[in-house]
Symmetry: C2
Subunit: 205 residues, 2 copies
Amino acid sequence: MKYIDLTHSFIDSMPAFPGDPQASLRAVANIKDSGYTDHELKSYMHVGTHMDAPLHMIADGKKMDEWPIEQFFGPGVVLDVRGKQRIDAPVLDGVAIERGSILFLYTGYGSLYQKKAYFDNQPTVSEDFAKRVVELGVKILGMDILGPDQPPFPTHKMLLGNGVLIIENLVNLEQLLDIPKFDVIALPMKLRADAAPVRVVAVVR
Amino acid sequence: MKYIDLTHSFIDSMPAFPGDPQASLRAVANIKDSGYTDHELKSYMHVGTHMDAPLHMIADGKKMDEWPIEQFFGPGVVLDVRGKQRIDAPVLDGVAIERGSILFLYTGYGSLYQKKAYFDNQPTVSEDFAKRVVELGVKILGMDILGPDQPPFPTHKMLLGNGVLIIENLVNLEQLLDIPKFDVIALPMKLRADAAPVRVVAVVR
């Protein structure tokens, strides 16, 4: 059994979503003075490797802590979409995807995280692609970019409005390209919120 | 395959560790005004279902994001310790625990969470118990109470100083009592800190 961690470390002064305040993770107690170490985390939700729940874009949509835990386990599929500025439905043609899968888009941006270039010219995932993903019965769509689209967010809404969760800011997806079969476990913090930090692991048996 | 979620929901105004400021989880954007929902989480680390890393008690100890992901997977064992005010080494006598296990202590306090009674007369886990846990090669010790001990924290230090992670404030452990064999997945947020929120799941095959 081999495990591959697809999650960025969450550190102080993470790059936030453009326009959001920067997250902070600061020590509030240390062993010398208090006998133990403690930290305070202060962050908006769409920072680092995180999962979007329907409430992020859908009025009265489900919150992160309202999903049954089964939703976070499934067979994994990775699509190599490096170099594409627009990720559209035809990239799914001929790809075997069983219902309940967790689908990843590997754009190559993951290795640019923490660099200014991460924010430049990120690809867009089309609404048509999202519609096909919904029809295929995918549970979760994950990607190594900030998000699938820009306001007014048709792709987010197509996915979240149809019960497909979204993972943004993944890393290490290139390690999956040559693996014929793997499972994914993507366990989010059980937050009563529109999104949450998530730990994402590929399991190769 | 059956999955059992052993994690409390993290909500606004969670009960904090006594003496710590209360956590907050507040909406910072809503669909009507911004076109999307977002939240801000502000919390110390030792709130809700969370995992302690060595840095919590050990100077220069490993942080939460420094553990290989394999550490968070293992065969599960649950000990029914209801009614014991002190959990001592002999409760391990005759229990089959393979190396690399994730061991849970079921005290019955989990169902009192969010109530005042949760903070009354919690049991203590002895340093001797922790020493045996270290010798047995347990990876993680989890429990449905605030923590194993009080200052100066000999039990915490025995465990964390020997590479045994700790999970506090678990729930639903009673669901494991009649299951002869289960595995545990305990994936913490990948925080560069002394501890982190964790999602804990038992998997019954």
